[in-house]
Symmetry: C2
Subunit: 310 residues, 2 copies
C-alpha cells in the first residue's frame, strides 16, 4: 500500500444548461494537483502552494472539512499531510471547491485501500462543499469523482448514475468577475410555471437520451434552459452575445457553468471548439473584461493518480 499519492482533480461543469442541480460533467483541464501523505502525527495538516490564500486550518478548508469527515468515519485514528496546488480558480464556476473536496477524499481512500464506496466519498466531500458555499451540493463532486457525465437523481437518499456519452470537445471562457454561488442561488424564484417546468423536463430527457444515443444534434437541441438561465445570465456581461455567436460558429450548445461566471460550449470536434474560443476571445476583448479560455475535452475518468510512493 502506498504512503503517499499525488492526483489530478479536474474542473467540472454543473447543471449543463437544462439539468439544474442534477447534471454535471468532468473536464480534462484545468485540474488541481494534490498530494496526500500518511503522517506519524494523528490529525490533518494542510498546505496550499498556490496563489489563492485559502485557509489552511482543516475545518475551514474545503478539502480539510471533507477529509475530516472521512477520518471521523474511519474506525482507527489517522494522520495525514495534504499539499494542494490549486489551479482551478476559486469562484470561477468550474467546481474549484469540489475538486478540493473530492480530491482529498479520493486520495485518502486510495491510501486506505478503498475502505469507502463512491457514495460514501460523495457524502464526505459534500461537507467540503458546505464550507465553500453553505450548501451540501453534489453536482460538481459527482462528475469529479466518477468522470464523464453524471446524474444525481436524488440527494436523499443519494442516487447517482454515470451516463454514457460520446466524445465532446468543450470550450470555456471565464470572465474575471465575481458571481457568488449564494447570490446566484438567491435570485432564483421559488416557484416556476408548470408550463416551463414541462419544457425543461422535456429538454432534460432529450439531453440524457442524446448523450446515451451519441446523437449530437439531439444534445444540441436539448441544451435549452427556460428557467434558470434567463435569470442568472443577467449577472454575466456578454452572455447572450457569447451564446449566440458560439452557436453560429458551430457549437452544439452551452450556457452558464455552475452558477457562473464561466460560460461553456459543447462541440463535436476540436476544430469547432477552437473557433468557439476565438469568438469568446473577440467578445471579451471588445467588452474589456479580463478573461481566460480553455479548450478541453470531456474527462471520462474523473480524478486520476499521477504518482504513488510506498
Amino acid at each position: 500500500m502506498p504512503r503517499k499519492i499525488t492526483i489530478k482533480s479536474p474542473a467540472t461543469i454543473a447543471n449543463l444548461v437544462c439539468g439544474f442541480d442534477i447534471l454535471g460533467l468532468a473536464l480534462e483541464e484545468p485540474y488541481d494537483l494534490m498530494t496526500l501523505e500518511f503522517s506519524d502525527d494523528y490529525g490533518l495538516k494542510i498546505k496550499h502552494i498556490d496563489e489563492y490564500h485559502l485557509p489552511e486550518k482543516p475545518e475551514d478548508n474545503v478539502a480539510g472539512a471533507a477529509l475530516l469527515s472521512l477520518m471521523e468515519a474511519y474506525n482507527k485514528p489517522l494522520g495525514f499531510t495534504l499539499t494542494i496546488d490549486k489551479i482551478i480558480k476559486p469562484g470561477s464556476g468550474l467546481g474549484s471547491s469540489a475538486a478540493s473536496a473530492a480530491g482529498g477524499v479520493f486520495a485518502a481512500n486510495k491510501l486506505l485501500n478503498n475502505a469507502f464506496t463512491n457514495d460514501e466519498l460523495i457524502k464526505f466531500a459534500m461537507n467540503g462543499e458546505k464550507v465553500a458555499s453553505g450548501v451540501k451540493h453534489a453536482d460538481n463532486i459527482t462528475p469529479c469523482l466518477l468522470g464523464g457525465v453524471t446524474l444525481i437523481r436524488s440527494i436523499h437518499p443519494l442516487d447517482v448514475i454515470k451516463l454514457n456519452s460520446p466524445e465532446l470537445f468543450i470550450t470555456v471562457v471565464h470572465p474575471q468577475i465575481e458571481v457568488k454561488t449564494s447570490d446566484a442561488r438567491q435570485i432564483l424564484k421559488e416557484e416556476v410555471q408548470l408550463k416551463k417546468a414541462i419544457k425543461q423536463w422535456g429538454n432534460i430527457a432529450g439531453l440524457v437520451a442524446g448523450l446515451m444515443q451519441g446523437d449530437y444534434d439531439l444534445i444540441g437541441r436539448s441544451l435549452e434552459d427556460v428557467i434558470i438561465e434567463p435569470i442568472r445570465s443577467i449577472l454575466i456581461p456578454g452572455f447572450d452575445e457569447v451564446k449566440l455567436q458560439c452557436m453560429q460558429a458551430g457549437a452544439l450548445g452551452g450556457g452558464i457553468s455552475g452558477s457562473g461566471p464561466s460560460i461553456f460550449m459543447l462541440n463535436k470536434n476540436q476544430e469547432t471548439a477552437l473557433q468557439v474560443e476565438a469568438v469568446m476571445t473577440n467578445i471579451y476583448t471588445r467588452i474589456g473584461i479580463d478573461f481566460k479560455t480553455y479548450v478541453t475535452k470531456l474527462n471520462s475518468k474523473g480524478i486520476s493518480i499521477i504518482n504513488e510512493e510506498a
Copy 2:
C-alpha cells in the same frame, strides 16, 4: 398498392408517472381494429361497429378529424371509407382517442404509399385529439404510431424521440368511473415549487437513463411523481392503496395512466404482472367499483397491419 387495409391500433399510457406531457408507451393490448378502404366517391365515410355510440360525422369523429387534415394536405382529391371497431373504452385513460386518430392516418398513409413522414402523421393525428379533449396533445399519439417508449422533447417545433427500453410487463386496472381529461387538467396548479420541479427532472432523467440502460431498479426508483400525482390521484378511489400494495407485490412502479382513471404498473416479468393484477382485483372488488384489468407487454412496434387487399 393495396386498396384496403386493416390495422390494430394499440392502447397507450401517457405521462409514465414523472414524465407529464412528454413520455408515453404503447401496449400490446387492448387495441382497436380499423379498416380503411379507398372509395370511388371523394370524401370520407366513417362507420363504428362498436358499442360506444361515437359520432360518425367525419369532422366530429376523432379518427375523422385526423384523416380530414391528412386528406387536405394531400395534393389530390381522395375518397375513403373507414370502419372502426373500438375496443379501447373511451375515457379510460388508455389513449382511446389517440388510437383512433393515429390509426386513421397510419392506415391512410399506407394506402398512399407512405406519402407522409411520421412527424406529419403525428401533426394530423393531433387534430383528432383536439376533437376529443380540446387539446392537441401528442403523448398518446406518438407511442401509438412509433411503438415502444417515446419522448416528446418539444411540441413546437415537433421533436419526438423513440427511447430504447428493456422488456416490460404491464398490468392495468381500469376502474369504471369517469375522469374527464379536461377536469384532470383543470385541477393542476399553474405554478410549481422549483424544489419539486428539480426532484421531478431528476426522476425523469433517471427514468430515461434506466430505460436506455435496461436497469430495472433505476426505472423503479425513478417512477416517482411529486407534482401531478398528488393532485390527480384524489380523483381515483383506491389509488394510494393500489399503488402501495402493487409495489409490495413486486411491481417496479407505476401510477395514473394519462389523466386516469386507469392505473398501470410496470413489472420485470409476467409472474409479477399477474400477482399485481390479483392485488388490483382484490382491492376494487372490496371497494365495490366495477373494473377491468389487463396484463400485457410493452408494444415495441406500435400500430400493426393485420390485412391488406389489392
